[in-house]
Protein backbone atom coordinates (compact mmCIF):
# COMPACT_ATOMS: atom_id res chain seq x y z
CA UNK A 1 0.00 0.00 0.00
CA UNK A 2 1.28 3.45 -0.87
CA UNK A 3 2.43 5.83 1.78
CA UNK A 4 -0.09 8.32 3.02
CA UNK A 5 2.21 11.25 2.22
CA UNK A 6 1.96 10.48 -1.49
CA UNK A 7 -1.41 12.22 -1.67
CA UNK A 8 -0.81 15.51 -3.43
CA UNK A 9 -3.95 17.48 -2.69
CA UNK A 10 -3.28 20.14 -5.30
CA UNK A 11 -2.84 17.54 -8.04
CA UNK A 12 -5.85 15.42 -7.06
CA UNK A 13 -8.03 18.52 -6.70
CA UNK A 14 -7.16 19.36 -10.28
CA UNK A 15 -8.20 15.84 -11.36
CA UNK A 16 -11.47 16.37 -9.53
CA UNK A 17 -11.97 19.80 -11.08
CA UNK A 18 -11.96 21.59 -7.74
CA UNK A 19 -10.23 24.96 -7.44
CA UNK A 20 -8.87 25.23 -3.91
CA UNK A 21 -7.42 28.21 -2.12
CA UNK A 22 -3.90 27.96 -0.76
CA UNK A 23 -5.27 27.66 2.76
CA UNK A 24 -7.64 24.86 1.76
CA UNK A 25 -4.85 22.99 0.00
CA UNK A 26 -2.64 23.09 3.07
CA UNK A 27 -5.44 22.29 5.51
CA UNK A 28 -6.73 19.37 3.46
CA UNK A 29 -3.20 18.06 2.93
CA UNK A 30 -2.81 17.69 6.68
CA UNK A 31 -6.33 16.43 7.39
CA UNK A 32 -6.34 13.86 4.61
CA UNK A 33 -2.87 12.69 5.52
CA UNK A 34 -4.26 11.85 8.96
CA UNK A 35 -7.20 9.96 7.44
CA UNK A 36 -4.97 8.00 5.06
CA UNK A 37 -2.59 7.23 7.89
CA UNK A 38 -5.53 5.81 9.81
CA UNK A 39 -6.50 3.75 6.74
CA UNK A 40 -3.06 2.12 6.70
CA UNK A 41 -4.42 -0.47 9.10
CA UNK A 42 -6.07 -2.19 6.14
CA UNK A 43 -2.64 -3.01 4.78
CA UNK A 44 -1.99 -5.70 7.34
CA UNK A 45 -5.01 -7.84 6.46
CA UNK A 46 -4.72 -10.98 4.38
CA UNK A 47 -7.22 -10.58 1.58
CA UNK A 48 -5.92 -13.24 -0.81
CA UNK A 49 -8.77 -15.28 -2.28
CA UNK A 50 -11.35 -12.69 -1.11
CA UNK A 51 -13.74 -11.40 -3.75
CA UNK A 52 -14.38 -7.65 -3.63
CA UNK A 53 -17.90 -6.89 -2.38
CA UNK A 54 -19.15 -4.78 -5.23
CA UNK A 55 -22.74 -5.24 -4.11
CA UNK A 56 -24.05 -4.98 -0.56
CA UNK A 57 -26.76 -7.49 -1.44
CA UNK A 58 -25.67 -9.53 -4.49
CA UNK A 59 -27.71 -8.76 -7.59
CA UNK A 60 -26.91 -9.11 -11.24
CA UNK A 61 -28.53 -8.62 -14.63
CA UNK A 62 -31.41 -6.47 -13.47
CA UNK A 63 -33.20 -5.77 -16.74
CA UNK A 64 -36.51 -4.33 -17.79
CA UNK A 65 -38.46 -4.71 -21.00
CA UNK A 66 -37.24 -2.42 -23.75
CA UNK A 67 -40.37 -0.30 -23.78
CA UNK A 68 -40.31 3.48 -24.10
CA UNK A 69 -41.47 5.50 -21.09
CA UNK A 70 -42.19 9.14 -20.43
CA UNK A 71 -39.26 11.20 -19.30
CA UNK A 72 -38.72 14.88 -18.65
CA UNK A 73 -39.85 17.29 -21.34
CA UNK A 74 -37.19 19.56 -22.78
CA UNK A 75 -38.72 22.43 -20.84
CA UNK A 76 -38.56 20.54 -17.56
CA UNK A 77 -34.99 19.48 -18.24
CA UNK A 78 -33.97 23.07 -18.97
CA UNK A 79 -35.82 24.59 -16.02
CA UNK A 80 -32.75 24.74 -13.77
CA UNK A 81 -30.26 25.66 -16.48
CA UNK A 82 -27.85 28.47 -15.52
CA UNK A 83 -28.05 29.58 -19.15
CA UNK A 84 -30.24 28.29 -21.91
CA UNK A 85 -31.37 29.27 -25.39
CA UNK A 86 -33.14 27.49 -28.25
CA UNK A 87 -33.77 24.47 -26.03
CA UNK A 88 -30.04 24.13 -25.47
CA UNK A 89 -27.83 24.43 -22.40
CA UNK A 90 -25.42 27.29 -23.06
CA UNK A 91 -21.89 26.53 -21.84
CA UNK A 92 -18.45 28.14 -22.01
CA UNK A 93 -16.69 27.55 -25.30
CA UNK A 94 -14.97 24.18 -25.38
CA UNK A 95 -13.59 23.90 -28.88
CA UNK A 96 -11.10 26.47 -30.06
Amino acid sequence: MSKATELDVAYVAQLARLNLTEEETQLFQKQLRDVLHYAEKLRGLDVTEVEPATHAIPVSNVFREDEPRDGLTAEEALANAPRQANQLFIVPKVVE
Binding site: V12, Y38, A39, I57, N80
Partner: protein
Protein backbone atom coordinates in the same frame (compact mmCIF):
# COMPACT_ATOMS: atom_id res chain seq x y z
CA UNK B 1 -56.92 19.04 22.09
CA UNK B 2 -54.48 21.92 21.74
CA UNK B 3 -52.36 22.43 18.67
CA UNK B 4 -49.26 21.52 20.66
CA UNK B 5 -50.92 18.27 21.80
CA UNK B 6 -51.85 17.53 18.21
CA UNK B 7 -48.32 18.06 16.97
CA UNK B 8 -47.10 15.72 19.70
CA UNK B 9 -49.19 12.80 18.44
CA UNK B 10 -47.71 9.71 16.86
CA UNK B 11 -48.56 8.58 13.33
CA UNK B 12 -50.74 5.78 14.73
CA UNK B 13 -52.64 8.04 17.17
CA UNK B 14 -53.13 10.81 14.62
CA UNK B 15 -54.35 8.37 11.99
CA UNK B 16 -56.81 6.88 14.48
CA UNK B 17 -58.19 10.29 15.43
CA UNK B 18 -58.42 11.38 11.83
CA UNK B 19 -60.42 8.26 10.97
CA UNK B 20 -62.61 8.84 14.02
CA UNK B 21 -63.22 12.34 12.59
CA UNK B 22 -61.91 13.97 15.76
CA UNK B 23 -59.24 15.79 13.78
CA UNK B 24 -59.10 16.75 10.13
CA UNK B 25 -55.94 16.42 8.04
CA UNK B 26 -56.02 20.18 7.58
CA UNK B 27 -56.04 20.73 11.34
CA UNK B 28 -53.12 18.34 11.71
CA UNK B 29 -51.12 20.19 9.08
CA UNK B 30 -51.98 23.55 10.65
CA UNK B 31 -50.94 22.33 14.08
CA UNK B 32 -47.56 21.24 12.73
CA UNK B 33 -47.19 24.53 10.91
CA UNK B 34 -47.90 26.52 14.07
CA UNK B 35 -45.49 24.37 16.06
CA UNK B 36 -42.77 24.96 13.47
CA UNK B 37 -43.39 28.71 13.58
CA UNK B 38 -43.03 28.59 17.36
CA UNK B 39 -39.95 26.43 17.81
CA UNK B 40 -38.01 26.30 14.55
CA UNK B 41 -36.36 29.68 15.18
CA UNK B 42 -34.59 27.86 18.02
CA UNK B 43 -34.04 24.53 16.24
CA UNK B 44 -33.57 25.38 12.54
CA UNK B 45 -34.70 21.94 11.41
CA UNK B 46 -36.30 23.19 8.19
CA UNK B 47 -34.78 24.58 5.01
CA UNK B 48 -38.07 25.11 3.18
CA UNK B 49 -41.78 24.67 3.69
CA UNK B 50 -44.65 24.96 1.23
CA UNK B 51 -48.12 24.90 2.68
CA UNK B 52 -50.09 25.93 -0.37
CA UNK B 53 -49.85 22.58 -2.14
CA UNK B 54 -49.85 20.69 1.15
CA UNK B 55 -53.04 22.37 2.38
CA UNK B 56 -54.82 21.42 -0.85
CA UNK B 57 -53.63 17.83 -0.40
CA UNK B 58 -54.78 17.85 3.21
CA UNK B 59 -58.23 19.14 2.25
CA UNK B 60 -58.70 16.32 -0.25
CA UNK B 61 -56.86 13.63 1.69
CA UNK B 62 -58.19 10.09 1.63
CA UNK B 63 -58.21 9.33 5.34
CA UNK B 64 -58.67 5.60 4.82
CA UNK B 65 -55.15 5.33 3.42
CA UNK B 66 -52.51 3.99 5.85
CA UNK B 67 -50.90 7.41 6.32
CA UNK B 68 -53.97 9.41 5.29
CA UNK B 69 -53.57 13.04 6.37
CA UNK B 70 -50.29 12.54 8.24
CA UNK B 71 -47.77 15.40 7.76
CA UNK B 72 -44.31 13.98 6.95
CA UNK B 73 -41.11 15.98 6.45
CA UNK B 74 -38.43 15.02 3.91
CA UNK B 75 -34.67 15.43 4.18
CA UNK B 76 -33.64 17.95 1.53
CA UNK B 77 -31.75 15.32 -0.47
CA UNK B 78 -34.92 13.82 -1.88
CA UNK B 79 -36.54 15.26 -4.98
CA UNK B 80 -40.08 16.55 -4.48
CA UNK B 81 -41.39 18.04 -7.71
CA UNK B 82 -41.55 21.83 -7.72
CA UNK B 83 -39.72 22.12 -4.40
CA UNK B 84 -36.10 22.99 -3.63
CA UNK B 85 -33.67 20.12 -3.20
CA UNK B 86 -30.56 21.85 -1.95
CA UNK B 87 -28.79 18.85 -0.36
CA UNK B 88 -27.64 21.47 2.14
CA UNK B 89 -25.30 22.85 -0.53
CA UNK B 90 -24.69 26.20 -2.20
CA UNK B 91 -24.21 24.35 -5.47
CA UNK B 92 -27.93 23.46 -5.49
CA UNK B 93 -29.30 26.48 -3.67
CA UNK B 94 -31.50 27.50 -6.60
CA UNK B 95 -32.40 24.03 -7.88
CA UNK B 96 -36.06 23.03 -8.05
CA UNK B 97 -36.89 19.36 -8.48
CA UNK B 98 -38.46 18.57 -11.87
CA UNK B 99 -39.69 15.17 -10.69
CA UNK B 100 -40.77 13.17 -7.64
CA UNK B 101 -38.57 10.62 -5.96
CA UNK B 102 -40.24 7.22 -5.69
CA UNK B 103 -40.29 7.51 -1.90
CA UNK B 104 -42.19 10.81 -2.20
CA UNK B 105 -44.63 9.26 -4.64
CA UNK B 106 -45.18 6.25 -2.38
CA UNK B 107 -45.69 8.39 0.71
CA UNK B 108 -48.30 10.46 -1.13
CA UNK B 109 -49.94 7.28 -2.44
CA UNK B 110 -50.23 6.19 1.21
CA UNK B 111 -51.90 9.50 2.04
CA UNK B 112 -49.03 11.38 3.68
CA UNK B 113 -48.93 15.16 3.37
CA UNK B 114 -45.49 16.39 2.28
CA UNK B 115 -44.96 20.02 3.30
CA UNK B 116 -41.32 20.66 4.13
CA UNK B 117 -37.67 19.83 3.50
CA UNK B 118 -35.27 19.45 6.36
CA UNK B 119 -31.69 20.51 6.98
CA UNK B 120 -28.74 18.20 6.55
CA UNK B 121 -24.98 17.98 6.30
CA UNK B 122 -24.04 18.96 2.76
CA UNK B 123 -24.60 16.02 0.38
CA UNK B 124 -25.17 13.85 3.44
CA UNK B 125 -21.51 14.08 4.44
CA UNK B 126 -21.25 14.57 8.15
CA UNK B 127 -22.40 13.47 11.59
CA UNK B 128 -23.62 16.72 13.09
CA UNK B 129 -25.50 18.77 10.44
CA UNK B 130 -22.82 21.42 10.98
CA UNK B 131 -21.71 20.90 7.38
CA UNK B 132 -24.93 22.40 6.03
CA UNK B 133 -24.02 25.39 3.89
CA UNK B 134 -27.13 27.13 5.17
CA UNK B 135 -27.14 26.83 8.97
CA UNK B 136 -26.63 24.24 11.68
CA UNK B 137 -29.63 22.52 13.24
CA UNK B 138 -29.85 22.42 17.01
CA UNK B 139 -30.67 19.53 19.28
CA UNK B 140 -34.13 20.08 20.83
CA UNK B 141 -32.85 18.59 24.11
CA UNK B 142 -30.11 21.22 24.35
CA UNK B 143 -29.96 23.88 21.68
CA UNK B 144 -26.23 24.46 22.24
CA UNK B 145 -25.64 20.93 20.97
CA UNK B 146 -25.81 19.16 17.66
CA UNK B 147 -28.70 16.89 16.68
CA UNK B 148 -26.32 14.51 14.94
CA UNK B 149 -26.13 14.04 11.20
CA UNK B 150 -26.34 13.94 8.37
CA UNK B 151 -30.14 13.81 8.76
CA UNK B 152 -30.11 16.21 11.72
CA UNK B 153 -33.00 18.33 10.47
CA UNK B 154 -35.39 15.39 10.12
CA UNK B 155 -34.38 13.98 13.51
CA UNK B 156 -34.71 17.31 15.32
CA UNK B 157 -38.07 17.97 13.63
CA UNK B 158 -39.57 14.73 14.94
CA UNK B 159 -38.03 15.16 18.39
CA UNK B 160 -39.43 18.69 18.64
CA UNK B 161 -42.88 17.68 17.30
CA UNK B 162 -42.24 19.77 14.21
CA UNK B 163 -43.27 16.75 12.14
CA UNK B 164 -45.35 13.70 12.97
CA UNK B 165 -42.71 11.65 11.15
CA UNK B 166 -39.84 12.40 8.81
CA UNK B 167 -37.69 10.75 6.19
CA UNK B 168 -33.90 10.68 6.28
CA UNK B 169 -31.08 8.79 4.62
CA UNK B 170 -28.38 6.57 6.09
CA UNK B 171 -25.07 5.90 4.37
CA UNK B 172 -22.85 5.32 7.42
CA UNK B 173 -25.29 6.00 10.25
CA UNK B 174 -27.02 9.20 9.19
CA UNK B 175 -30.47 8.09 10.36
CA UNK B 176 -29.53 5.98 13.37
CA UNK B 177 -27.02 8.37 14.95
CA UNK B 178 -29.23 11.50 14.88
CA UNK B 179 -32.13 9.37 16.13
CA UNK B 180 -29.96 8.36 19.09
CA UNK B 181 -28.81 11.92 19.79
CA UNK B 182 -32.36 13.26 19.56
CA UNK B 183 -34.09 10.50 21.52
CA UNK B 184 -36.33 9.11 18.77
CA UNK B 185 -36.63 6.02 16.58
CA UNK B 186 -34.54 5.87 13.41
CA UNK B 187 -34.55 2.92 11.02
CA UNK B 188 -32.07 2.08 8.29
CA UNK B 189 -33.76 -0.54 6.14
CA UNK B 190 -31.80 -3.27 4.36
CA UNK B 191 -29.99 -2.01 1.28
CA UNK B 192 -32.42 -2.41 -1.59
CA UNK B 193 -35.54 -2.38 0.62
CA UNK B 194 -36.48 1.18 -0.36
CA UNK B 195 -36.07 2.69 -3.82
CA UNK B 196 -33.33 5.30 -4.19
CA UNK B 197 -34.85 6.80 -7.34
CA UNK B 198 -34.95 10.53 -6.80
CA UNK B 199 -32.51 10.42 -3.88
CA UNK B 200 -29.46 12.52 -4.68
CA UNK B 201 -26.74 9.90 -4.44
CA UNK B 202 -23.81 10.13 -2.04
CA UNK B 203 -22.52 6.53 -2.04
CA UNK B 204 -24.62 4.34 -4.27
CA UNK B 205 -23.76 1.01 -2.65
CA UNK B 206 -24.38 2.32 0.88
CA UNK B 207 -27.23 4.88 0.74
CA UNK B 208 -30.62 3.88 2.08
CA UNK B 209 -33.76 5.93 2.79
CA UNK B 210 -35.57 5.38 6.10
CA UNK B 211 -38.00 6.85 8.63
CA UNK B 212 -37.64 8.92 11.79
CA UNK B 213 -40.58 8.40 14.14
CA UNK B 214 -41.60 8.81 17.76
CA UNK B 215 -42.37 5.11 18.20
CA UNK B 216 -41.43 1.74 16.75
CA UNK B 217 -45.01 1.14 15.56
CA UNK B 218 -44.84 4.36 13.58
CA UNK B 219 -41.56 3.17 12.06
CA UNK B 220 -43.27 -0.02 10.90
CA UNK B 221 -46.17 2.00 9.44
CA UNK B 222 -43.75 4.20 7.54
CA UNK B 223 -41.72 1.24 6.28
CA UNK B 224 -44.92 -0.38 4.99
CA UNK B 225 -45.51 2.72 2.87
CA UNK B 226 -42.01 3.19 1.44
CA UNK B 227 -40.65 -0.33 0.99
CA UNK B 228 -40.80 -2.24 -2.24
CA UNK B 229 -39.47 -2.97 -5.67
CA UNK B 230 -39.11 -0.13 -8.14
CA UNK B 231 -38.34 -0.57 -11.84
CA UNK B 232 -36.66 2.84 -11.72
CA UNK B 233 -34.00 1.67 -9.23
CA UNK B 234 -32.16 -1.47 -10.27
CA UNK B 235 -30.89 -1.91 -6.72
CA UNK B 236 -34.39 -1.92 -5.19
CA UNK B 237 -35.01 -5.61 -4.87
CA UNK B 238 -38.07 -7.72 -5.55
CA UNK B 239 -38.32 -8.94 -1.95
CA UNK B 240 -42.00 -9.02 -0.99
CA UNK B 241 -43.12 -6.38 1.51
CA UNK B 242 -44.80 -7.95 4.55
CA UNK B 243 -46.99 -5.96 6.93
CA UNK B 244 -44.25 -4.70 9.23
CA UNK B 245 -46.76 -4.10 12.04
CA UNK B 246 -47.90 -7.75 12.11
CA UNK B 247 -45.29 -8.99 14.60
CA UNK B 248 -45.41 -5.97 16.91
CA UNK B 249 -46.56 -7.05 20.35
CA UNK B 250 -45.33 -10.59 19.92
CA UNK B 251 -43.16 -11.89 22.75
CA UNK B 252 -39.40 -11.99 22.28
CA UNK B 253 -38.97 -14.93 24.62
CA UNK B 254 -36.24 -17.20 23.35
CA UNK B 255 -34.93 -14.81 20.69
CA UNK B 256 -31.15 -14.66 20.73
CA UNK B 257 -29.48 -11.24 20.91
CA UNK B 258 -25.78 -10.99 20.17
CA UNK B 259 -23.43 -8.49 21.76
CA UNK B 260 -20.39 -8.05 19.50
CA UNK B 261 -17.45 -8.25 21.85
CA UNK B 262 -15.38 -5.91 19.71
CA UNK B 263 -17.97 -3.18 20.39
CA UNK B 264 -17.27 -3.15 24.12
CA UNK B 265 -13.96 -1.34 24.01
CA UNK B 266 -12.84 2.05 25.28
CA UNK B 267 -14.20 5.25 23.91
CA UNK B 268 -17.83 4.74 24.97
CA UNK B 269 -19.03 7.44 27.35
CA UNK B 270 -19.83 6.07 30.81
CA UNK B 271 -23.50 7.10 30.73
CA UNK B 272 -23.94 5.49 27.31
CA UNK B 273 -22.38 2.23 28.44
CA UNK B 274 -24.53 2.11 31.58
CA UNK B 275 -27.76 2.88 29.74
CA UNK B 276 -27.04 0.24 27.10
CA UNK B 277 -26.08 -2.33 29.77
CA UNK B 278 -29.39 -1.66 31.53
CA UNK B 279 -31.26 -1.95 28.25
CA UNK B 280 -29.63 -5.32 27.57
CA UNK B 281 -30.65 -6.49 31.05
CA UNK B 282 -34.16 -5.28 30.29
CA UNK B 283 -34.21 -7.29 27.05
CA UNK B 284 -33.02 -10.30 29.01
CA UNK B 285 -35.83 -9.85 31.51
CA UNK B 286 -38.25 -9.90 28.56
CA UNK B 287 -36.97 -13.36 27.75
CA UNK B 288 -34.27 -12.69 25.19
CA UNK B 289 -31.18 -14.84 25.40
CA UNK B 290 -28.02 -12.71 25.45
CA UNK B 291 -25.05 -14.22 23.61
CA UNK B 292 -21.57 -12.84 23.10
CA UNK B 293 -20.56 -12.93 19.44
CA UNK B 294 -17.56 -11.75 17.51
CA UNK B 295 -17.31 -9.42 14.52
CA UNK B 296 -13.54 -9.75 14.09
CA UNK B 297 -13.12 -7.09 11.41
CA UNK B 298 -14.89 -4.34 13.38
CA UNK B 299 -11.75 -2.24 13.75
CA UNK B 300 -11.44 -1.93 9.95
CA UNK B 301 -14.99 -0.73 9.26
CA UNK B 302 -14.31 2.99 9.48
CA UNK B 303 -11.29 2.81 7.17
CA UNK B 304 -13.20 0.67 4.68
CA UNK B 305 -16.19 3.00 4.83
CA UNK B 306 -14.24 6.19 4.25
CA UNK B 307 -12.47 4.69 1.25
CA UNK B 308 -15.56 3.23 -0.41
CA UNK B 309 -18.00 6.03 0.43
CA UNK B 310 -15.67 8.80 -0.67
CA UNK B 311 -14.76 6.91 -3.86
CA UNK B 312 -18.41 6.53 -4.76
CA UNK B 313 -19.11 10.13 -3.78
CA UNK B 314 -16.34 11.44 -6.03
CA UNK B 315 -18.11 9.75 -8.95
CA UNK B 316 -21.63 10.77 -7.92
CA UNK B 317 -20.75 14.41 -7.37
CA UNK B 318 -19.03 14.77 -10.74
CA UNK B 319 -22.41 15.73 -12.18
CA UNK B 320 -22.36 19.03 -10.29
CA UNK B 321 -20.53 20.95 -12.95
CA UNK B 322 -22.56 24.12 -13.48
CA UNK B 323 -23.82 22.96 -16.88
CA UNK B 324 -27.38 21.73 -16.56
CA UNK B 325 -28.43 22.91 -13.11
CA UNK B 326 -27.18 24.54 -9.98
CA UNK B 327 -24.57 27.14 -9.26
CA UNK B 328 -22.28 28.33 -12.04
CA UNK B 329 -19.26 30.53 -11.38
CA UNK B 330 -19.35 33.65 -13.51
CA UNK B 331 -16.81 34.83 -16.11
CA UNK B 332 -15.07 31.53 -16.62
CA UNK B 333 -11.89 31.84 -18.69
CA UNK B 334 -12.27 28.38 -20.18
CA UNK B 335 -13.92 25.06 -19.46
CA UNK B 336 -11.48 23.96 -16.76
CA UNK B 337 -11.83 27.31 -15.05
CA UNK B 338 -15.60 26.95 -15.29
CA UNK B 339 -15.55 23.54 -13.63
CA UNK B 340 -12.85 24.35 -11.10
CA UNK B 341 -14.39 27.57 -9.85
CA UNK B 342 -18.00 26.35 -9.96
CA UNK B 343 -17.15 23.33 -7.85
CA UNK B 344 -14.55 25.10 -5.73
CA UNK B 345 -17.02 27.83 -4.84
CA UNK B 346 -20.15 25.70 -4.79
CA UNK B 347 -19.00 22.87 -2.51
CA UNK B 348 -18.19 23.19 1.18
CA UNK B 349 -14.93 21.95 2.77
CA UNK B 350 -16.09 18.50 3.93
CA UNK B 351 -17.49 17.72 0.50
CA UNK B 352 -14.26 18.84 -1.15
CA UNK B 353 -12.19 16.78 1.28
CA UNK B 354 -14.18 13.67 0.51
CA UNK B 355 -14.15 14.19 -3.24
CA UNK B 356 -10.36 14.56 -3.10
CA UNK B 357 -9.93 11.46 -0.96
CA UNK B 358 -12.31 9.49 -3.17
CA UNK B 359 -10.60 10.61 -6.36
CA UNK B 360 -7.22 9.64 -4.92
CA UNK B 361 -8.22 6.14 -3.84
CA UNK B 362 -9.65 5.46 -7.29
CA UNK B 363 -6.76 6.93 -9.22
CA UNK B 364 -4.29 5.00 -11.31
CA UNK B 365 -1.58 3.46 -9.16
CA UNK B 366 -3.64 3.68 -5.98
CA UNK B 367 -6.86 1.88 -6.94
CA UNK B 368 -5.61 -1.61 -6.02
CA UNK B 369 -4.01 -0.57 -2.77
CA UNK B 370 -6.99 1.39 -1.49
CA UNK B 371 -10.32 0.90 -3.23
CA UNK B 372 -9.96 -2.73 -4.31
CA UNK B 373 -8.50 -3.70 -0.96
CA UNK B 374 -11.32 -1.89 0.87
CA UNK B 375 -13.89 -3.76 -1.22
CA UNK B 376 -12.26 -7.04 -0.17
CA UNK B 377 -12.25 -6.10 3.49
CA UNK B 378 -15.88 -5.09 3.02
CA UNK B 379 -16.56 -8.69 1.98
CA UNK B 380 -14.82 -9.89 5.17
CA UNK B 381 -17.06 -7.57 7.22
CA UNK B 382 -20.14 -8.90 5.42
CA UNK B 383 -19.08 -12.45 6.23
CA UNK B 384 -18.61 -11.52 9.90
CA UNK B 385 -22.29 -10.54 10.04
CA UNK B 386 -23.40 -13.65 8.13
CA UNK B 387 -21.60 -15.80 10.67
CA UNK B 388 -22.96 -13.86 13.64
CA UNK B 389 -26.52 -14.22 12.34
CA UNK B 390 -26.10 -17.99 12.29
CA UNK B 391 -25.88 -17.78 16.08
CA UNK B 392 -28.29 -14.94 16.90
CA UNK B 393 -31.45 -13.27 15.63
CA UNK B 394 -30.24 -9.71 16.10
CA UNK B 395 -27.23 -7.79 17.35
CA UNK B 396 -27.34 -5.13 20.05
CA UNK B 397 -24.98 -2.24 20.75
CA UNK B 398 -24.91 1.46 21.54
CA UNK B 399 -25.81 3.48 18.44
CA UNK B 400 -23.25 6.16 19.21
CA UNK B 401 -20.36 6.00 21.68
CA UNK B 402 -21.07 9.59 22.68
CA UNK B 403 -24.11 11.74 23.38
CA UNK B 404 -24.82 15.03 21.60
CA UNK B 405 -21.76 17.25 21.64
CA UNK B 406 -21.60 21.04 21.58
CA UNK B 407 -21.78 22.85 18.26
CA UNK B 408 -18.24 23.46 17.07
CA UNK B 409 -16.70 20.99 19.49
CA UNK B 410 -15.68 18.42 16.89
CA UNK B 411 -15.63 20.32 13.62
CA UNK B 412 -11.90 21.04 13.53
CA UNK B 413 -10.83 17.40 13.28
CA UNK B 414 -12.52 15.38 10.51
CA UNK B 415 -10.93 12.11 11.58
CA UNK B 416 -12.28 12.47 15.10
CA UNK B 417 -15.75 13.00 13.67
CA UNK B 418 -15.35 9.90 11.46
CA UNK B 419 -14.35 7.72 14.43
CA UNK B 420 -17.72 8.29 16.12
CA UNK B 421 -19.36 6.22 13.35
CA UNK B 422 -17.84 3.06 14.79
CA UNK B 423 -21.12 1.28 15.59
CA UNK B 424 -23.13 2.33 12.56
CA UNK B 425 -20.83 2.10 9.49
CA UNK B 426 -20.66 -1.67 9.37
CA UNK B 427 -24.40 -2.16 8.79
CA UNK B 428 -24.16 -0.08 5.61
CA UNK B 429 -21.10 -2.01 4.45
CA UNK B 430 -22.88 -5.32 5.01
CA UNK B 431 -26.21 -4.03 3.65
CA UNK B 432 -28.15 -5.25 6.68
CA UNK B 433 -30.90 -3.39 8.57
CA UNK B 434 -30.46 -1.42 11.78
CA UNK B 435 -32.62 0.62 14.13
CA UNK B 436 -31.89 3.06 16.95
CA UNK B 437 -34.37 3.38 19.79
CA UNK B 438 -34.21 5.55 22.93
CA UNK B 439 -32.83 3.71 25.98
CA UNK B 440 -32.12 6.40 28.50
CA UNK B 441 -30.50 9.73 29.19
CA UNK B 442 -27.12 11.04 30.14
CA UNK B 443 -27.26 13.54 32.99
CA UNK B 444 -23.55 14.09 33.58
CA UNK B 445 -23.34 17.20 31.41
CA UNK B 446 -26.01 18.96 33.43
CA UNK B 447 -28.67 18.67 30.73
CA UNK B 448 -30.60 15.52 29.90
CA UNK B 449 -29.23 14.12 26.67
CA UNK B 450 -30.73 11.08 24.92
CA UNK B 451 -28.93 7.77 24.52
CA UNK B 452 -29.76 5.34 21.71
CA UNK B 453 -29.73 1.55 21.63
CA UNK B 454 -28.95 0.02 18.26
CA UNK B 455 -30.36 -3.27 17.07
CA UNK B 456 -29.08 -4.78 13.83
CA UNK B 457 -30.85 -7.50 11.90
CA UNK B 458 -30.25 -9.79 8.95
CA UNK B 459 -30.95 -8.48 5.50
CA UNK B 460 -34.72 -8.14 4.97
CA UNK B 461 -35.45 -9.14 8.56
CA UNK B 462 -36.93 -5.74 9.53
CA UNK B 463 -40.05 -7.45 10.91
CA UNK B 464 -37.99 -9.27 13.53
CA UNK B 465 -35.97 -6.14 14.28
CA UNK B 466 -39.12 -4.09 14.80
CA UNK B 467 -40.63 -6.81 16.96
CA UNK B 468 -37.65 -6.77 19.33
CA UNK B 469 -37.45 -2.96 19.32
CA UNK B 470 -41.16 -2.68 20.05
CA UNK B 471 -40.98 -5.13 22.94
CA UNK B 472 -38.17 -3.14 24.56
CA UNK B 473 -39.88 0.19 23.91
CA UNK B 474 -43.18 -0.90 25.39
CA UNK B 475 -41.48 -2.13 28.56
CA UNK B 476 -39.97 1.33 29.23
CA UNK B 477 -41.06 4.97 29.16
CA UNK B 478 -38.17 6.46 27.22
CA UNK B 479 -40.28 7.04 24.12
CA UNK B 480 -42.71 9.20 26.08
CA UNK B 481 -40.10 11.74 27.11
CA UNK B 482 -40.22 15.09 25.34
CA UNK B 483 -37.72 17.96 25.31
CA UNK B 484 -38.84 21.11 27.08
CA UNK B 485 -39.13 23.74 24.35
Amino acid sequence: MTGADLAALTVADLQQRIRAREISPREALDAVRVRIAQVDPKIDAYLSQDYEAAAAEAESANIELPLGGVPVALKDVINLRGQPCTCGSKILASYRAPYDATVARKLRAAGAILFGKTNMDEFAMGSSTENSSVKPTRNPWDVTRVPGGSSGGSAAAVAADEAIAAIGTDTGGSIRQPAALCGIVGLKPTYGRVSRYGLVAFASSLDQIGPFTKTVRDSALMLNAIAGHDPLDTTALREPVPDYTADLGKEIHGLRLGIPKEYLGDGIEKDVREAVDRAIQQLESLGAKIVEVSLPHTEYAIAVYYIIATAEASANLARFDGVRYGYRAGNARDLLDHYGRTRGEGFGPEVKRRIILGTYVLSSGYYDAYYLRAQKVRELIRRDFDRAFEQVDALVSPTSPIVAFKLGERSADPLQMYLADIFTNAANLAGICGISIPCGFSESTGTRLPIGLQLMGKAFDEARLLQIAHAYEQSTDWHKARPAL
